[in-house]
C-alpha cells in the first residue's frame, strides 16, 4: 500500500466479513421460521432473529464503508491518515458496542433490554432497523463523528479529489440523517414520515454517493482510465441520484396519512430512480472496456462490474416494479418488498463493499492481487452468492405476486395467514437458495486463505 496508515482498513474489513456471516446465519434461521414457525422458539424468536439479521447487515456495511474510506482516502489525498490510533480505537468501540447490542437482542426480551438501557430517559427504541438501545445509538454517533473527523482532517490536509469529496459528502449525509433516528414524534404519521429520512435518504440517497465514490476509486485503479473521465461520470451519477432520490422519498408517503399529492410526486421522481443505477452500470462497463492496463486483480473487476448490474437490477428494476402508487397500493408490505430489498441491498451495498475488499485486501496483505487459484475461488463465490440472490429474489417475487393476488385482489381475498400458507412453497425454495448463498459465502471466506504465487504491488 502507498501509505502505512491504510493498514487500519484491514480490521474493519475483517470485522465486516465476520458480521456478514452472522447476518446470513440469522437470515437462514428466519427463512426456516417462515415455514417451520416454532423453529428455535423460544430461544430465538422470529422478531429477535430479524433484529439481529437487519442490524448486522447495516453494521457490517458500515464497517465496510469505514474500511473503504480508511483505505482510499489516504491514497486519494496523498497523505497519511490523520490519526490511525483514533481509527483503531473507534474500531473496537464500534465492534464491542455492536456485539453487546446483538447479545442484548438475543439474551433478554426486548422490553427488558429497553429497561436496562434506560430507554425511558430518551426513548428511541421500538422502530424497524432502529431497534438499538438509545445508548448504542449515541455510541454510533460518537463513532461516526470521530470517523468523519479523522477522514475530514485527512482530506483537508491533502489533495482533494472528486472521489474523496463525494465520499465525504456521502458519509456526512449518512451521519446527519442518522440523527433522525433520535426524533420520535408521538404522531404516528410524523413518526413514519421522518423514519424514512433515515432509511430512504440513506439507501436511496447518501449511500449512493458512497457507492459511486468507492466504485469510481476501484475502477480508476484497475482500469487506469483517466481520472477526469471517471470523475465526470461520478458527478453525473450522483446528480441523478439526488435529483430523483430526494423527492423520490415520496414513494414512501403514499399510504401513511400524508397528503395525497405525494402519490403523484413520489411516483414521478422515484420512477426515475433507476437512472443513476443504469448509468452506474454503463459507467463500470465503459471504463473496463476502455481500460489502459490489464490489472492482475480480475476478481475485483468482476465484483465491480457485478455491482453495477446487480444494483441496477435489484435497486433499479425491482424497485421500479412496485414504485408507482397504483401498483404499490396492492403490493405494499408484501413479499415483493422483501424481494426488492434483498436484491437491492446485495447488489448495491454488499457488492460494493466486497468490491473494495477484493481490491484492497491483497494490497493490505502485500501484493497487487491474490494468486490465480485464490482469485478463481473468489470468483466462484461471486457467482454462487449472486446467482443464489437472484433466485431468492425470483422466489420472493413469485411469493409476493401470489400473495398480492390472493390477499388483496380478486373476488374472495384470503386472510393474511391463509395466503402465507399458500405461498409456503416459495419460502422453501428461497431457503434452499439461501443455503447456496451460505455456501458461496463460505467459499468467499476460503479464498482468503488460499496460497500461491502472487505479483508484487
Amino acid at each position: 500500500m502507498q501509505y502505512k496508515s491504510q493498514a487500519v482498513a484491514k480490521p474493519y474489513f475483517i470485522a465486516a466479513i465476520g458480521l456478514f456471516i452472522g447476518q446470513i446465519l440469522f437470515g437462514l434461521i428466519m427463512g426456516l421460521q417462515y415455514v417451520v414457525g416454532d423453529f428455535m422458539f423460544p430461544a430465538i424468536p422470529f422478531n429477535a432473529a430479524r433484529m439481529v439479521h437487519t442490524n448486522l447487515l447495516i453494521v457490517w456495511l458500515l464497517f465496510g464503508f469505514m474500511g473503504a474510506a480508511y483505505y482510499l482516502v489516504p491514497e486519494e489525498s496523498e497523505t497519511e491518515l490523520f490519526s490511525p490510533k483514533l481509527a483503531i480505537t473507534m474500531f473496537w468501540i464500534f465492534l464491542v458496542a455492536g456485539a453487546l447490542t446483538i447479545v442484548g437482542y438475543l439474551a433478554v426480551p426486548y422490553a427488558t433490554l429497553a429497561k436496562i438501557t434506560m430507554n425511558s430517559l430518551f426513548p428511541t427504541m421500538g422502530r424497524e432497523f432502529l431497534e438499538q438501545p438509545t445508548i448504542t445509538k449515541l455510541g454510533i454517533v460518537v463513532v461516526a463523528l470521530a470517523f468523519l473527523f479523522n477522514i475530514g482532517m485527512t482530506v483537508l490536509k491533502g489533495r482533494k479529489t472528486a472521489i474523496s469529496l463525494v465520499l465525504l459528502l456521502g458519509l456526512l449525509g449518512l451521519a446527519v440523517f442518522f440523527l433522525f433516528s433520535f426524533y420520535n414524534p408521538d404522531n404516528l404519521v410524523k413518526d413514519k414520515y421522518f423514519w424514512w429520512w433515515v432509511v430512504h435518504l440513506w439507501v436511496e440517497g447518501v449511500w449512493e454517493l458512497i457507492l459511486g465514490a468507492i466504485l469510481a476509486f476501484v475502477l480508476i485503479k484497475i482500469t487506469g482510465v483517466d481520472r477526469e473521465v471517471v470523475e465526470k461520470w461520478l458527478y453525473v451519477i450522483i446528480t441523478m441520484t439526488l435529483i430523483t432520490g430526494i423527492i423520490g422519498t415520496g414513494h414512501h408517503y403514499y399510504w401513511i396519512g400524508t397528503p395525497g399529492y405525494w402519490q403523484v410526486w413520489g411516483s414521478i421522481f422515484s420512477a426515475l430512480e433507476p437512472i443513476p443505477f443504469f448509468m452506474l452500470t454503463i459507467f463500470a462497463f465503459n471504463m473496463v472496456n476502455k481500460r489502459r492496463r490489464e490489472h492482475p486483480n480480475k476478481a475485483a473487476t468482476l465484483w465491480a462490474l457485478g455491482t453495477g448490474v446487480m444494483a441496477f437490477l435489484g435497486a433499479g428494476v425491482w424497485g421500479f416494479l412496485h414504485t408507482l402508487a397504483p401498483v404499490n397500493y396492492y403490493t405494499h408490505g408484501t413479499q415483493l418488498t422483501a424481494a426488492h430489498g434483498h436484491m437491492a441491498f446485495y447488489g448495491a451495498y454488499v457488492m460494493v463493499v466486497l468490491t473494495i475488499i477484493s481490491y484492497a485486501m491483497p494490497v493490505l496483505r502485500g501484493r497487487a492481487a491474490n494468486c490465480e487459484k485464490a482469485q478463481v475461488v473468489e470468483m466462484w463465490s461471486f457467482w454462487l452468492m449472486t446467482v443464489s440472490i437472484v433466485f431468492i429474489t425470483l422466489f420472493l417475487t413469485g411469493a409476493g405476486i401470489l400473495q398480492t393476488w390472493l390477499q388483496r385482489m380478486g373476488d374472495h381475498p384470503m386472510s393474511f395467514m391463509d395466503a402465507q400458507n399458500a405461498i409456503a412453497i416459495f419460502y422453501w425454495m428461497r431457503e434452499g437458495s439461501g443455503l447456496v448463498f451460505l455456501i458461496g459465502l463460505a467459499t468467499y471466506v476460503t479464498s482468503f486463505f488460499i496460497k500461491g504465487e502472487t505479483k508484487a504491488i
Partner: protein, 217 residues
C-alpha cells in the same frame, strides 16, 4: 488472463480489448466542428435528464387534467396570463442575451460577454420577481398544494421551474465573474457555452409550460 485449467473456471465475461489509447479526453476547447452540442457534454446529460423529468411532469399534468377538465379549466382562469406571457418574453429575451454573450466571447470580447450575461441574469431576476408576485397572490387568496389538483400541479410545476431559474442564474453568475476577470477567450470558452446551454433549457421548459398550464383549455 488466466488459462482455463481444471474444473471449469468461472467466466470472465468481458473480452480482451486491444490496448486502446485514451479514447475519452477532457473536453476540448471550443471546437464544435460537426458533432457534439456546445459546452461540456456532462451538462447535456444533465439537460436531457431535466427535460425527461419535466416531460414526465407535463404528461402527468395533462393526463390528470383529462379526468377533471371542468375543474382545470375553471381554476386555470384564476391564473394571471399576463404574468405568464410577460415571463415568457422575459426568458426569451434573457436567452437572447446569452446568445449575444456567446457571440461576444467567440470574438474574444470578454467584457462584452460579461455584460450580456449580466443582462440575462437581471432578466432572470425579473422572472423570479414576477413569479414570486404570482405565488404571493395565490397564497394570500388561500390557495395551497391541497386546494385542488390543478393548483397542486400549477404550484409544483412552476416552483420546480423557478428553482431551475435560480440554479441557472447561479451558474451564469459564476460564468459572468470568470468572464469579467478575463478567464475566457475566443479559443477557450467551453464554460460560457456550458452555462448558456443550461439557461436555454430553462427557457425551453417554460416555452412548453406556459401554453400547457396557462392557456390550453
Amino acid at each position: 488472463m488466466f488459462s482455463r485449467k481444471g474444473g471449469g473456471a468461472p467466466l470472465l465475461f468481458y473480452r480482451e480489448f486491444p490496448n486502446m489509447t485514451a479514447s475519452a479526453t477532457p473536453e476540448e476547447t471550443c471546437s464544435q466542428e460537426t458533432d457534439g452540442p456546445p459546452g461540456d457534454l456532462a451538462i447535456w446529460i444533465f439537460i436531457l435528464a431535466e427535460m425527461l423529468v419535466f416531460g414526465v411532469m407535463f404528461l402527468v399534468y395533462a393526463f390528470t387534467r383529462a379526468n377533471q377538465v371542468e375543474l382545470f379549466n375553471a381554476s386555470q382562469l384564476t391564473l394571471s396570463r399576463t404574468a405568464g406571457a410577460v415571463n415568457t418574453l422575459v426568458l426569451i429575451t434573457s436567452s437572447y442575451c446569452v446568445v449575444r454573450a456567446v457571440s461576444a466571447i467567440k470574438q474574444g470580447m470578454s467584457h462584452l460577454c460579461a455584460n450580456w450575461l449580466s443582462g440575462a441574469i437581471l432578466l432572470g431576476g425579473l422572472f423570479t420577481s414576477i413569479k414570486l408576485w404570482e405565488f404571493s397572490e395565490k397564497f394570500s387568496a388561500g390557495i395551497s398544494l391541497e386546494s385542488n389538483d390543478f393548483f397542486m400541479f400549477y404550484l409544483m410545476l412552476t416552483f420546480f421551474h423557478f428553482m431551475h431559474v435560480l440554479m441557472g442564474m447561479t451558474i451564469l453568475a459564476f460564468v459572468t465573474a470568470k468572464a469579467r476577470r478575463g478567464g475566457y477567450s475566443a479559443q477557450n470558452h467551453v464554460g460560457v457555452e456550458t452555462g448558456a446551454s443550461f439557461w436555454h433549457m430553462v427557457d425551453l421548459l417554460w416555452i412548453i409550460l406556459f401554453p400547457l398550464v396557462y392557456v390550453i383549455r
